[in-house]
């Protein structure tokens, strides 16, 4: 198993996961291993469906376009026939639960384990089932455990966070492509060993994604080529959510402004007599307004900075809470410089405007009405 290789999705399939119960601990204790295969349960609903994905793959005769790829935007090339109509073996793999047959292992433990292929299991699956590197597990294409293959766990891995499925438990495994193909390939399909579900392609020039899409589609009918970058017109899921969040922010700002104006009017009312006295001793309305402006500016700046600081402090708590709740390394909240600046740019003028507007209601009155009790 090559270490440090980037996980590249190859064949995707739903498999069922079994474990030789207590084998590892039994061997260490010098006792014969349990011969019973146990289907893992998941909320009482039967064996897991886990997605298997090869992390090492090869493609014969890659096209020139694919061969010249490098860093940049990745383009997923989906093998449509596999996705639209998965092989029968895969179809049969995702079925309802059935009793597990009791079969003795065909070879002795040591002989079997010496030649076992290796796989990686997701951290979540390892933790949930209490597995450790070196343990032996069984993957099968049917809930009943037929067409099964034993694997030794090489290590664990952290699945790439996926914001569209952050609530799903990431019960996943990664296999060498030949192992996975051997496991799920349809014996009646001579092309089965050549088939993959997805190729990820990185381009030297990301802006060529569309050209590659056109070229590959024209040369290989049946393939679906999709850029992984977000569409620029904001029609994707996250574009819509962005606009939703902005709409809520605008409503909050409008509501806050109304409150702020009310508070500033009360504050100005409190200073009615002082303002009246200042005007009586000859200080002009413009000077008083200037004082109010700078006072408002300082208060608004202080408030905005306090708000940014509060949000920055809260983001750690929010992220830690949701990462704990959904067992994911996804970042849910991030206060960027751009967001902080936008907040300040919104808040400061609003604060100054509220102060000036409230004071203006006092200054336009006759000075006599200000000092009258």
């Amino acid at each position: 198993m090559p270490s440090g290789a980037d996980p590249v999705p190859g064949v995707r399939a739903a498999l069922h996961f079994f474990r030789l119960k207590d084998r590892h601990s039994a061997r260490r204790a010098g006792r014969p291993p349990s011969k019973r295969e146990v289907a893992l349960s998941h909320s009482g609903r039967g064996p897991h469906d886990i997605s298997g994905a090869a992390y090492n793959f090869g493609v014969r005769n890659p096209s020139r376009a694919l061969a010249t790829t490098g860093l940049g935007v990745a383009v997923a090339v989906l093998a449509w026939p596999l996705l639209a109509r998965p092989p029968r073996a895969v179809n049969d793999a995702v079925a309802a639960t059935a009793p597990v047959r009791q079969e003795p292992p065909s070879a002795s433990l040591d002989e079997t384990e010496a030649v076992l292929p290796e796989l990686l299991l997701s951290r979540q699956l390892m933790e949930q089932e209490g597995l450790r590197p070196g343990d032996v597990v069984t993957l099968a294409t049917t809930p009943a455990g037929t067409d099964r293959t034993q694997f030794r766990i090489a290590d664990r891995y952290e699945p790439t966070p996926d914001p569209t499925h952050f609530t799903s438990k990431r019960l996943e495994a990664r296999l060498h492509l030949p192992d996975l193909q051997k496991l799920v390939a349809d014996p009646d399909d001579p092309q089965a060993s050549e088939a993959v579900s997805v190729l990820n392609v990185a381009l030297d020039r990301p802006e060529n994604a569309e050209a590659l899409q056109t070229a590959v589609t024209a040369r290989m009918p049946g393939l679906s080529v999709r850029p992984t970058s977000r569409p620029s017109d904001g029609t994707d899921l996250f574009g819509v959510l962005d606009r939703f969040h902005q709409a809520i922010a605008v409503v909050t700002v409008v509501g806050s402004t109304a409150f702020l104006l009310a508070l500033m009017m009360m504050r100005a009312e409190e200073r009615r007599e002082i303002v009246g006295s200042l005007r009586l001793i000859g200080i002009s309305s413009r000077t008083i307004l200037g004082e109010v402006f700078f006072e408002g500016l300082l208060i608004a700046l202080g408030g905005a900075l306090f708000g940014v600081g509060l949000a920055s402090a809260a983001q750690g708590l929010v992220n830690r809470f949701f990462q704990w709740q959904y067992d994911t390394p996804l970042v849910f909240m991030r206060i960027t410089q751009s967001i902080a600046w936008r907040s300040v740019v919104f808040a400061v003028p609003l604060g100054v405007f509220a102060g000036l507007a409230a004071s203006w209601t006092l200054l336009r009155r006759h000075v006599g009405s200000l000092v009258r009790r």
Binding site: W80, A84, N91, V94, H165, T167, S224, R226, R243, A258
Partner: protein
């Protein structure tokens, strides 16, 4: 003067301030109301959508449904087997595929000829559109769509030479189709040219589809014609098998019976699907609704409390004078509570229509998400949300007035009057 009248006079003494305070409460209240609607809206709408189809069990090939949607093999045999179960009332098979629909004006009134079914069109094409092509069992047609113009598939099919097609209103408008039009349908592959043959259909009607998507067009035809478009006469795969349980048994019994006779497929009751949706797809909106509801409620509490406290602080001398005149503390407290009630109650009531108006805008915005059924809504008006909204606002109002009431009823009368006189 009653405490209520005193509170009213206090508020109306500064109308601009009162209007701004009520406006602030109303806007924040509208946001709170929207978050309460959002907290269950999608779930309620999803359940309503499922139940409106009239089937309470959905049979699929994989437990991973709806994330992974594998085809159900040998669907007709499965449907026949399920129809024989005593727990099952009715079974419907649903097949879908992506197809391209093109208006063909080259032979508008010619009789259908089997020899010409798979010919390429010659001239007269005006425009085309990619659609979701649907086929359901004939018994389920009345539940899957409502014909708004023309005839249904079953009643029209017998008298036609070409296979019948129903289209959604949006597709009819987009391609300028009307009953009697001839259209060409070709099943397509996502992002790739399709070599499948085009099939001529006669448009028999325009329908409102139950599961129509806002970003997509829909067309429906019979099972035979559907297979004809796929050039797979022998294929019997389906996307979904719908089951309605027999009265007296219920969906749980039907699910158990189906699991027992066909362990290779996975039946889901509507309750199970809603529960899964609640766990997975809905989690984001549940969380954001909870977080924003909490923040807006806390925000409203803080602002109302600040307003009332500042208002009381400005009138400490007045309050001390009233108490010196012998007005009991509880009447002072009642007056402040009424003041809070006028502000919060007024704002809270305005928040309901304002919130609903805002909710329709936000719903429209969120429904721009790709792949959502047109009838699915994020904000659903329900009495529970209105009651909860009013209850939370009453609680916020009472809590916000607690501190100013404490200040007003505990202030030292003589010292306050003296301070007020010399200030």
């Amino acid at each position: 003067m009653t405490p209520r009248a005193l509170a009213w006079r206090t508020i109306t003494a500064s109308p601009a301030r009162a209007v701004l305070a009520v406006a602030g409460v109303a806007i924040i209240g509208a946001l709170l109301f929207d978050m309460l609607l959002l907290s269950r809206g999608l779930l309620l709408s999803f359940r309503d959508l499922l139940e409106s189809a009239g089937y309470d069990v959905r049979v699929v090939a994989s437990e991973s449904f709806p994330v992974v949607r594998l085809p159900v093999p040998r669907a007709s045999a499965l449907a026949a087997q399920l129809e024989g179960l005593p727990e099952v009332q009715e079974v419907a098979v649903v097949r879908t595929d992506r197809a391209n629909v093109t208006l063909d004006t080259s032979i508008p009134d010619q009789a259908f000829s089997p020899d010409r079914t798979q010919e390429e069109p010659t001239t007269g094409q005006r425009s085309s559109q990619d659609v979701t092509l649907v086929s359901v069992s004939s018994a389920a047609e009345r539940r899957a769509w409502q014909v708004v113009r023309g005839r249904g598939l079953a009643e029209a099919a017998s008298g036609l030479a070409r296979p019948p097609l129903l289209v959604s209103r949006r597709l009819a408008k987009d391609l300028d189709l009307s009953p009697g039009s001839t259209v060409m349908v070709r099943v397509v592959l996502a992002g790739a040219p399709s070599a499948l043959p085009r099939v001529r259909f006669t448009l028999v009607g325009v329908a409102a589809f139950s599961f129509d998507r806002s970003d997509d067009f829909t067309a429906a035809t019979t099972a035979d014609a559907f297979r004809q478009t796929q050039a797979e006469s022998g294929s019997d795969d389906a996307d979904l098998v719908l089951v309605s349980s027999r009265a007296g048994f219920g969906s749980a019994a039907a699910v158990a019976a189906i699991s027992q006779v066909r362990p290779d497929v996975k039946p889901f009751s509507n309750d199970e699907l809603v529960s899964r949706f609640n766990e997975n797809g809905f989690a984001y909106f549940r969380q954001i609704s909870f977080v924003l509801s909490s923040i807006t409620l806390g925000f409203a509490f803080l602002l109302i409390a600040t307003l009332l406290t500042m208002s009381v602080n400005q009138r400490l001398g007045q309050v001390a004078g009233l108490r010196a005149l012998g007005i009991p503390r509880r009447r002072i407290a009642a007056a402040l509570l009424w003041e809070s009630t006028w502000l919060v109650g007024g704002g809270g009531l305005i928040a309901l229509p304002l919130g609903w108006l805002l909710a329709t805008r936000l719903d429209h915005l969120l429904k721009q998400m790709p792949g959502l059924p047109e009838r699915l809504h994020f904000f659903v008006l329900e009495p529970r949300a209105v009651v909860l909204h009013l209850g939370l606002f009453v609680a916020a109002g009472v809590a916000a007035s607690a501190y100013p009431i404490w200040v007003a009823t505990r202030l030292p009368i003589a010292a306050t009057l003296r301070r007020d006189a010399i200030s």
